[in-house]
């Protein structure tokens, strides 16, 4: 379970201080997909970065399965992301000189060693995402939807407890965007992960299990499990 307790994030100080998040709290059970909606500058990306350990909150706590994760050093945070978190970026950020399969194997490579099991897992993920035929292609030769599916598969390589997804459909048309969200939801349910998906598109959010709307860093609407 992911618990975000009274989290605030402020940038700058004095007159120039900006409050990106203001006392945000919610909890999310394992196996659930939460869509975080809100206009630009509402704090969605900041929330994602805090959960990923890329930023440190100004106040509040982030707890995963009873373990606080917000007070880590940079090295600990990097290890936490390698082992516990899967991130899908808006711009997919696949490494352009690696094939789809090699992009998946990048994750265990960062942990030090690529095993036979890792290669098997990469092949299984590519197969489950319908990308077996595209495994040896570089990102430049893949369509937008294929790239995003490879990005999701890469995020699943380390069997993460937490999946963080940033605007996964921003560069896709509606149909392909919906396919990606459905795929994501299916994976979250099957693999019993906790997933936070940031989107500005309410149509995509409708397919999530829960919703949370942020405006000016505050929660203005929440579904059943948000507190």
């Amino acid at each position: 379970m992911l618990e975000v307790r009274d989290i605030s994030k402020r940038y700058g100080s004095g007159h120039t201080q900006v409050v990106a998040l203001d006392s945000v709290s919610f909890s999310l059970d394992t196996g659930r997909l939460l869509a975080v909606l809100g206009p630009s500058g509402s704090g969605k990306t900041t929330l994602l970065s805090l959960i990923a350990g890329l930023l440190t909150p100004s106040s509040g706590e982030i707890v995963i399965d009873g373990h606080a994760i917000h007070l880590r050093t940079a090295a600990e945070a990097a290890r936490f992301r390698r082992t516990t978190v899967g991130i899908v970026f808006q711009e997919h950020h696949l490494v352009h000189y690696l094939t789809a399969r090699e992009n998946l194997l990048l994750v265990p490579h960062l942990s030090g060693r690529v095993t036979r099991e890792d290669r098997t897992r990469a092949d299984e993920l590519l197969a489950s995402f319908g990308l077996t035929e595209r495994a040896s292609h570089r990102p430049a030769l893949l369509s937008g939807g294929e790239r995003q599916r490879v990005a999701i598969a890469r995020a699943l390589m380390n069997a993460p407890q937490i999946m963080l997804v940033d605007e996964p459909t921003a560069s896709l048309d509606t149909d392909r965007g919906l396919q990606v969200v459905e795929l994501l939801k299916q994976q979250v349910h099957e693999r019993k992960m906790t997933c936070v998906m940031v989107t500005h598109d309410p149509r995509m959010a409708e397919h999530a299990d829960e919703r949370l709307i942020l405006v000016d860093g505050r929660v203005v609407e929440e579904s059943a499990h948000a507190t």
Partner: protein, 382 residues
């Protein structure tokens, strides 16, 4: 994996920079070989004298051409505390051949240890009127078995063998025994003796003065004795120097070594800047990608290791290119060109390029450390 894959994924980009670094490496190697060639060509004869030290006449060091030691001086040096053996080494100017086809040479006389010359052709057994020539004399047409004439004295020398690495001031050398050298030296100084009886008398007096003497004395020390100790025992009558110090002094050698060394240092610095700036710019271009890789868990150490692997591969490839270019350039140079590749000096040049390239990588490291992984998720501050 990342490092090599990236190199293979951008062959043209990395190939061009490897070529550029290779050119710098070849420049460093060529200047190194020229430097070595100049040093050996300018002073190989002095540097290779079989001795622990060379004794110059007072106030003449490092000018071999000005120094004169008499037979008594050599005998006194041989008796000095700590000296096991002393023998004369004579130096004289010479022109070989006719006026139409002449070349300048230097004649060296050896009072002892005449077997010290490494023979590459012919024999090293030098009798009166015979000489072992430096192999560079062959560039001027000399052959073993030839009899050459020194002009304008008309003295003839039979070349019985070739040695190597014993040029002096870029001229070929002719190595003779000391009595032969004396005859050549006196005749060379006198040039042509005219004026009847007075001239002949002058020549006789000069020959008497030089009898058994030489330009400098080569000294071999007893075990455990240092040059400073012998110098102290001798006082200021003679100036002692190791053969290496004697070789590297005089004839503009320090200035020349400094100039060539300067070119080498500049080449290495240019190589380092090339590597440093190239990888710095490459890192800047990859900021978004590096931020994403950091966001999925890459440590700064991992990213720097990747950079170091890439630099190592790139400089290794550049070294192969540079070595091939330097060898090709050497093969295409005329024989008289001072070009003497020395594996140890080339290894030093390569090590310097590697070292400075790693130093240049610190620019990229600074850049890597400055990349915030949070930017991979977009702008988070407002």
């Amino acid at each position: 994996m990342l490092a090599i894959k990236e190199l293979l994924g951008s062959k043209l980009k990395f190939g061009l920079i490897a070529l550029a670094i290779g050119l710098v490496v070849s420049l460093t190697m060529i200047t190194s070989a020229i430097s070595e060639g100049l040093i050996r060509g300018m002073s190989g004869a002095k540097n290779e004298i079989a001795a622990d030290a060379v004794a110059f006449q007072r106030d003449t060091f490092p000018i071999l051409e000005r120094s004169v030691v008499s037979a008594d001086d050599i005998a006194a040096l041989a008796e000095a505390p700590g000296v096991a053996r002393a023998y004369g080494v004579g130096h004289s100017f010479a022109t070989v051949g006719s006026a139409d086809d002449a070349y300048d040479a230097r004649v060296f006389g050896l009072g002892d240890r005449i077997d010290q010359l490494p023979i590459v052709e012919g024999t090293g057994e030098i009798g009166p009127g015979e000489a072992v020539a430096d192999a560079s004399a062959a560039w001027w047409g000399a052959e073993v078995g030839d009899t050459v004439t020194l002009t304008p004295t008309g003295i003839e020398l039979a070349i019985v063998g070739f040695t190597e690495g014993r040029r002096y001031v870029m001229f070929p050398t002719l190595w003779v025994d000391l009595p032969t050298w004396e005859a050549i030296h006196v005749a060379t100084i006198l040039g042509r003796v005219d004026g009847g009886e007075d001239g002949a008398a002058a020549a006789e007096r000069m020959a008497a003065q030089f009898a058994g003497g030489a330009s400098v004395a080569a000294l071999e020390f007893e075990p455990g004795v240092s040059l400073a100790e012998v110098q102290q025992a001798l006082g200021d009558e003679f100036t002692l120097a190791t053969t290496e110090d004697a070789a590297l002094a005089g004839n503009g050698m320090p200035e020349m070594i400094l100039a060539v060394g300067g070119i080498q240092v500049v080449s290495v610095v240019i190589g380092a800047l090339l590597v440093g700036v190239f990888f710095y710019i490459t890192t800047l271009h990859k900021t978004a990608q590096i931020a994403a890789i950091k966001a999925i868990g890459a440590s700064n150490a991992h990213l720097y290791r990747t950079l170091i692997v890439q630099i190592t591969v790139l400089v290794a490839v550049a070294t192969v290119i540079g070595t091939a270019l330097a060898l090709a350039a050497g093969a295409g140079m005329p024989p008289l060109m001072a070009f003497d590749p020395d594996p140890a000096r080339w290894a030093t040049a390569i090590a310097a390029v590697f070292g400075t390239a790693y130093l240049g990588s610190l620019f990229s490291l600074k850049s890597i450390l400055g990349i915030d992984p949070a930017t991979a998720l977009g702008r988070t501050s407002t």
